[in-house]
C-alpha cells in the first residue's frame, strides 16, 4: 500500500473511532427468573442499561472501580486517539521522505492493547451466560465500529511500518 492509501485508511479510522467510542456498545439486561414479574414489581430488578465505551468507562471510574476504569480509559480511549495522531504524523513524514520517529515504534508496541475494550465486552458476553436469573449482556453496533477502527489502525500501522523498512 502506498502512502496515499494508508492516509485515506487512517482518515477513515477517525469517524469510525469516534462512533465506536460514543455509540451504544453493549446492553445489560438484568433478569431474575423465575420470579421476575414479582421482583420487577418490587423494584428489585433494574431496567436494562446501555453503555458506550465512553459511558461504560465513566461508569467504572465513578462507581468504585477506578483501576479498571483507568486501564480502559488509557487503552480504549486515549491510546487509540494518540495512535491516529502518531500515524498521521508518520504518514506525513513518509510523504516527505523522512523516516518515522521513535513515537511510531512505541505505538507499534502498544498496538496490541488497543482492543482492550473489545476484549472486555467479549469476556462480559461469555461470562453473562452464567449470570443468575437469565441476566444477559448484548453486544451493540458501536462495539463493531470500535473494533473496525482498531483493526483499521492496526492495518495502517503495519503498512506504515513496511514503508519505513528499506
Amino acid at each position: 500500500m502506498n502512502v496515499r492509501t494508508l492516509a485515506l485508511l487512517n482518515w477513515a479510522a477517525h469517524p469510525l473511532l469516534a462512533v465506536g467510542l460514543c455509540a451504544p456498545c453493549m446492553t445489560v439486561t438484568p433478569r431474575m427468573a423465575p420470579v421476575e414479574g414479582l421482583a420487577r414489581w418490587l423494584g428489585l430488578v433494574k431496567q436494562p442499561e446501555t453503555y458506550s465505551v465512553l459511558s461504560g468507562t465513566w461508569r467504572l471510574l465513578t462507581t468504585g472501580h477506578p483501576g479498571i476504569g483507568l486501564v480502559l480509559l488509557l487503552f480504549s480511549v486515549l491510546f487509540p486517539v494518540a495512535k491516529l495522531v502518531v500515524l498521521r504524523a508518520c504518514l506525513d513524514d513518509a510523504r516527505r521522505g523522512r523516516p518515522p520517529g521513535p513515537l511510531f515504534r512505541w505505538t507499534e508496541r502498544l498496538s496490541k492493547f488497543s482492543m482492550a475494550d473489545v476484549l472486555v465486552v467479549a469476556l462480559l458476553v461469555v461470562t453473562s451466560k452464567s449470570y443468575p436469573g437469565g441476566t444477559t449482556v448484548d453486544v451493540r453496533w458501536g462495539l463493531f465500529a470500535f473494533a473496525a477502527a482498531a483493526l483499521l489502525s492496526v492495518a495502517v500501522s503495519l503498512g506504515t511500518g513496511r514503508l519505513a523498512r528499506p
Binding site: 477517525h14 469516534a18 460514543c22 455509540a23 446501555t50 458506550s52 459511558s55
Partner: protein
C-alpha cells in the same frame, strides 16, 4: 505547529462525529434531563389517587367543638370520579390531622385473602382527555370529600358533576376529581369539606392545597401511576 495541526484536526473530527451520540445517547433516546418539577398525569393512563394528609380546623364552627365531649373528629374521606364513589378511606379517630398510607392490610383483607393490589388503599382513576361527549358535561366528573358521617350532607354539598364553577375547565380537563372529607359523629357522617380537582390538574407525586373548602385547613393528595410503579414507591 505541525503537531498542533494534526492533534487539533484529529480531535475536531472525533468530536464532530461523536457529539451526536453524546447528545442523543444509547438507544436514540433523548438525554436524561434534570427534573423540571412534578409531572402531570398522562392521557389514557391509570393512576392511584389518595389523600395522604388532611388537616381540619380545630373547631366545627367558631366556638363549637367537633364532638360534644370536646374531642377531635373521626376523619375519613371519599373519592368520587365520573359521578361514582370510587374510594372510601379508613376512619382515623379523634384527630385534627389524619394521615393515610398508600398500602395497608386490614382484617377484612386477610379474611378474603391478601393481594398486592387490594392492599393499595387508593382510588383508581383514568386520565382520559376529550373522550366525553360535550353535550353531557356531567360524564367524567368526580369528587373527593372529607367528612363526619352524615350522608344527607352530600345533597347539600352538591352531587358530583354539578359544580358549575369548574365547567369552563371542562373542555380542557380530562375529568374532575371531587374530594369529600368527613368526620364521624353520633348523628352520622358530617361533611367537613368537599372540593373538585380536574384530573388534568393532578400531578404525579404529592401536591398540597391550603383551605381547599369547608373546614379543611390543608389537604395533601398523592397520585401514583397504576402501572410501572414499584413496591418501594408505593410503600413510601
Amino acid at each position: 505547529m505541525r503537531w498542533t495541526w494534526i492533534v487539533g484536526t484529529t480531535l475536531a473530527i472525533l468530536a464532530l462525529c461523536g457529539l451526536p451520540f453524546l447528545l442523543w445517547p444509547a438507544d436514540g433516546a433523548p438525554p436524561p434531563r434534570a427534573p423540571e418539577g412534578p409531572a402531570g398525569v398522562e392521557a389514557e393512563k391509570h393512576y392511584y389517587v389518595l389523600l395522604a394528609v388532611v388537616e381540619v380546623e380545630p373547631e366545627k364552627r367558631p366556638g363549637k367543638p367537633w364532638d360534644s365531649g370536646g374531642s377531635a373528629p373521626d376523619l375519613y374521606y371519599e373519592i368520587w370520579w365520573q359521578g361514582t364513589e370510587v374510594f372510601e378511606s379508613a376512619t382515623k379517630s379523634d384527630t385534627l390531622v389524619a394521615r393515610w398510607t398508600n398500602v395497608a392490610v386490614d382484617l377484612k383483607d386477610v379474611a378474603k385473602g391478601v393481594s398486592l393490589d387490594d392492599s393499595i388503599k387508593a382510588a383508581r382513576i383514568a386520565a382520559r382527555s376529550g373522550t366525553r361527549p360535550r353535550t353531557s358535561p356531567t360524564v367524567g366528573w368526580s369528587s373527593m370529600s372529607v367528612s363526619r358521617r352524615e350522608r344527607a350532607c352530600f345533597a347539600s354539598a352538591g352531587a358530583p358533576g354539578t359544580n358549575s364553577a369548574r365547567a369552563p375547565m371542562f373542555a380542557a380537563a380530562a375529568a374532575l376529581i371531587e374530594r369529600r372529607v368527613y368526620a364521624e359523629a353520633l348523628a352520622g357522617p358530617d361533611l367537613i369539606g368537599r372540593f373538585d380537582v380536574a384530573v388534568d390538574d393532578l400531578t404525579v407525586g404529592d401536591q398540597a392545597w391550603t383551605n381547599p373548602g369547608g373546614r379543611l385547613k390543608s389537604v395533601t393528595c398523592r397520585v401514583l401511576p397504576l402501572d410501572g410503579v414499584d413496591f418501594a414507591t408505593l410503600t413510601r
